[in-house]
């Protein structure tokens, strides 16, 4: 935000508007560039901001390096999910998918490379696209959203190849199993495409007062972590049994596997680190009151920018260089 000038001049309307905007901002999605040095964050106003991680992490970082390098208006509605391919940044919001070239974004050009709308059943519905998933083997993109279907789009031709139906409700999250080519999708009630695991039906992990929705999903080939309404649980996929339940009261919105830990973030301000045995190893507080998205920069091209970034219900993106503490925050 422009620094408030400490004089007797009253704040102009522009500044008030900007301050209000920042107060109500929610960052829904993040994505790391293929070179590993930039982070893109999308918020609820449809803007995408590109931050330079290498500048912010360097030893001469100043206040300005924690501001975005470029901000542009990507969508009319909120940007719910983003994913990066080798050269493009694909962002999805209310019913539309757009792609931007990383090289051009950095040069401050905001022309989109292409935009697509997956074929919906009726032309009246414009459901939001909650999650994007890249399948590198087939070079295709999978979209999932409020129309309860999974659409597959081939990245080269831009044509929509398949629509997978089976879910009965909105789809929140997608995850890819590497060894066997399956896609797990979690929706309000069930999780999984090939096999339906009705998470809420298992007594150990269901929490009826929170609801039945599955907010976050992550998979590690044989194991899957999912959470949301029911408690955060680790499942063994071959036998479809819940093995460990993590004792976290607040519903978690994003979860991911990292080395031998499971990182999760949700309604509280902290990033939780769990061991697979169910013990809470650490709870690291961030600066937002609730966290919606975690992103681990593991691009091999930039090992010095290997950080965890967390963003949520505020205009700040926390950067963790060491999983034990929050280093600093980038801000819109």
């Amino acid at each position: 935000m422009d620094r408030v000038v400490p004089q007797a001049v009253p704040l102009g309307q522009m500044e008030v508007f900007q301050a209000l905007q920042r107060l109500h901002m929610t960052v829904f999605s993040q994505s790391v560039s293929p070179c590993g040095k930039f982070l893109a964050a999308g918020n609820n106003y449809g803007q995408i901001a590109i931050f330079s991680l290498s500048a912010a992490l360097s030893s001469e970082a100043k206040e300005e390096s924690k501001k975005p390098v470029v901000t542009f208006q990507a969508h009319d509605g909120p940007v719910y999910s983003m994913v990066s391919t080798d050269r493009q940044l694909v962002s999805a919001g209310d019913g539309e998918v757009k792609a931007w070239l990383w090289a051009e974004i950095l040069k401050k050009g905001s022309k989109e490379l292409w935009r697509c709308q997956p074929p919906y059943r009726t032309s009246l519905e414009v459901p939001e696209i909650n999650s994007l998933l890249l399948v590198p083997k087939e070079n295709s993109l999978i979209l999932a959203g409020g129309d309860c279907q999974l659409h597959t789009m081939d990245l080269e031709t831009g044509a929509f190849t398949r629509a997978l139906r089976g879910h009965t409700d909105y789809i929140h999250c997608l995850a890819l199993r590497e060894r066997s080519p399956e896609v797990l999708s979690g929706d309000l009630r069930t999780a999984k495409e090939v096999q339906t695991i009705e998470v809420y039906k298992h007594e150990e992990c269901s929490r009826p007062h929170n609801g039945r929705w599955i907010g976050c999903l992550a998979t590690d080939s044989d194991w899957m972590v999912c959470g949301g309404g029911p408690a955060l649980t680790l499942w063994h996929l071959r036998s479809s049994t819940p093995t460990t339940i993590f004792p976290m009261r607040a519903p978690q919105k994003h979860v991911t596997f990292y080395q031998d830990l499971i990182l999760s973030a949700g309604q509280g301000p902290c990033v939780n680190q769990w061991q697979l045995s169910g013990e809470l190893k650490a709870q690291v507080p961030g600066s937002s009151p609730g966290l919606l998205s975690l992103s681990l920069n593991q691009q091999p091209a930039a090992p010095e920018c290997k950080v965890l970034t967390a963003a949520g219900n505020s205009c700040r993106v926390d950067v963790f260089t060491n999983l034990g503490y929050r280093a600093f925050s980038l801000s819109f």
């Binding site: 036998s239 093995t243 460990t244 080395q259 031998d260 697979l276």
Partner: protein, 204 residues
């Protein structure tokens, strides 16, 4: 050395012996006393002045020797420091390598720990289920019971069949007997009727 610019010479002299005390002054005094000795009169004075000059000279030589030794010492110290510097560089490189090794080991250990935790989690689930041997034994016992019971059922059914057949035989024999008795009655009735008709016929 002779072609140095004059300020160099002055700078060097100031550096070495700026405040006028020490060797520079001694050399000046020596020169003055030499001139005085040349102009001296008596023999004893000249001799004592000569001795004094010799002692000043030896003092100068002594201090020169000392400076040379100090210079040598400095050179050797420099060499020593160079050696230590190289050794420290080597050990730094070695420590870097060790750190990289240890990082790899940490990654490996984390993977192993993750695998162990996965095994533990699965083992906990497995523990909830009963032992396989017991279940097999129970299955066997149940199978045997089932066989036994089916044998009993078969034998009971056989008995039932047998009884049914016997009763059937009995009932059919009874019916036959009944039939025969009825037939006999009818026959005897018919015979009686015939007899009475025969009796009434010849009367008229």
């Amino acid at each position: 050395m002779l072609f140095l610019p004059p300020d160099e010479v002055i700078r060097k002299r100031l550096l070495i012996d700026g405040d006028g005390a020490g060797d520079d002054r001694r050399i000046n005094l020596l020169v003055k006393s030499f001139i005085k000795w040349c102009n001296s009169g008596s023999q004893e004075e000249g001799y004592s002045q000569y001795q004094r000059m010799l002692s000043t000279l030896s003092q100068c030589e002594f201090s020169m020797g000392k400076t040379l030794l100090v210079y040598d010492m400095n050179l050797r110290e420099m060499e020593n420091y160079e050696k230590i510097y190289k050794e420290i560089e080597c050990s730094i490189a070695g420590a870097h390598e060790k750190i990289a090794e240890c990082k790899k080991q940490i990654l490996q250990a984390k993977r192993i720990r993750k695998n162990r935790q996965e095994y533990d989690a699965l083992a906990k689930v497995i523990q909830h289920h009963p032992d396989r041997h017991e279940t097999l034994k129970e299955l066997e016992a149940l199978g045997k019971e089932l066989e036994h019971l089916s044998h009993i059922k078969e034998s009971v059914e056989d008995k039932l069949e047998l009884r049914r057949k016997q009763f059937h035989v009995l009932l059919s024999t009874i019916h036959e007997l009944q039939q025969t008795l009825e037939n006999d009655e009818k026959l005897s009735e018919v015979e009686e009727a015939q007899e009475t008709s025969l009796e009434t016929d010849p009367k008229p």
